[in-house]
Amino acid sequence: MRSRSNLFLIAILALISTPLVIMYVFQLIDSVSRPALGGFLPQTWELGNWRFLWETIDSARPSIWRVTFNTFVFAASTALLVCAFSITAAYALSRLNFPARRFFLAGLIMLHAFPTITLIIAIFIVLQFLGLYDSLIGVILVKAALELPFGIWIMKGFYDSVPWEIEMAGVQDGASRFRVWRELILPQVKPGLAALLIFSFLAGWSEFILPLVLAPGADAQVLATYMNAVIADDMRPDYGLFKAIGVFYALPVIAVYLLFQKQLMNIYGGGTKG
């Protein structure tokens, strides 16, 4: 009975995911083969599409490794910033009684649901004013700021599920509030922190619009804008090359998901409590 219904579920899931799987498989196959003209089955096998790995594909563009490094720095800094601010801000919102706490909470929920793309012009002007336009630092700050409401909200959920008594016990044992937070409370929300770290890293890794608009220059290019440039600039788009870069771009994401799926699931486990 149990395994029958499980099989049924698996069958439905398989059916729904088949188109996705086919897309990934073809992406991979196409990147190392050339189809017949007008057809789609691979005809000849070749690694030419992957030439971007060892040569600069266009004299005007930075090398792929430089761009990958940029993407990594962008995603990692965003993730670290989001986590650093989330663990402190969320604790304050969850536990401390300070003026305008309700206002901050309400603001958080609103920002969480806000279509951030509508802010892009304002952000553009602010960055230009600060002299951070067209720099990686500028995009990192903006991306981190936009991810923060989500991060704080998730971490607040984790803090809320830590019993008050642990905190009281720590205080009674003579520890300061800060020490209680660092030594007794923070370890309890570690699973949430790990999930948030990975999650915001992936969000940074796949961000496209912000770098495109706020850092269009060659120096601050990330993989998403690099791909966009490859396909947009040429008179005759090289789809094989585009697909190969796509595979290259997606590989770390897939690896992260495979390695850390358990940690990522935590976000749905502990983060549900308002």
Partner: protein
Amino acid sequence: MRIHLQNFKKTFGDTTVIEDMNLTVEDGEMIALLGPSGCGKSTTLFAISGIHKINGGTLHFGDKDVTNLPAQERSVGVVFQNYALYPHMSVAQNIGFPLKVQKLKTAEINARVGEIAELVQIGNLLDRKPMQLSGGQQQRVALARALIRKPDVLLLDEPLANLDAKLRLEMRSEIRRLQRETGITAILVTHDQIEAMSMCDRIALMKDGRIEQISTPTQMYESPASHYVASFLGNPPISFLQAKADASLDLGHGNALPLPIGKAVQGELTLGIRPEHFGPQHDGPKISGQISFIEPQGREDLIDVMLPCGQKLRAIAPSGHGLKLEQDISWGTQMDRLHIFGADGTRL
């Protein structure tokens, strides 16, 4: 260390939970704060521990005024209802945490952890995580952690509420033993009258943020200050009867008890009769009625008697009495144990 709470007041926002409360716990004494849910027991406890700021009044430990000291600087050990052990630390780290905060040397911490672990009999569990312990063992760890600093005061918030019946019995005597051995002044919060009576030197019975009566368990049981106190203590509970006093205490429909000697009573009254003071084995003035329920308890049976006036009286009869349901009886009442309460609930 003597605890002296004077004119204590506590409010949460606009609601006043406790007003003008006075409580003194003598050095080395263990006292119970007993009362129904929501009467302010935990609030009082956390005010003494320093977790809650108090809104009025003063608190002294011995001669020292600790009213405005933060929790960290009061020498108080607390055992929480859910034990509040630190889940990511081993038992030894849990117990040693208060000493680590005091920056003692690791060797000394280890020695003292070992010592206290022996006292609460968990010496073999020091490497485990709290998750790997039974409820009773977690309780012992929580006690050890509260006691390791040798605090002036030990506070226990419903420490036995999460244990099963057998373990509760065991930990009851265990906590009392520890309290006696360490000679620490302790306050136990509970809503279980048996716990309060069996573990503590004195009981403070609370109602709606006030202390209704404070005295030794026996005194409280034998001479309750009010209707409320009498109803709270005793298992099976005391029975109350409405009566009218003139020439006798008239229960209606032919049942009457003589007026108590030396007490001037008049008008509408409530009588309190404990089950163990009414039954076939007692002499004294008779009350007649019909048996409406028999609950065998082994050594003795609980018997409900329906009086002709429609009120119910509970009796305890030694088993082997041969009584039957709906049998008419007329049993003696121990007049010297009869409680009489006035209209306002105070005992006359």
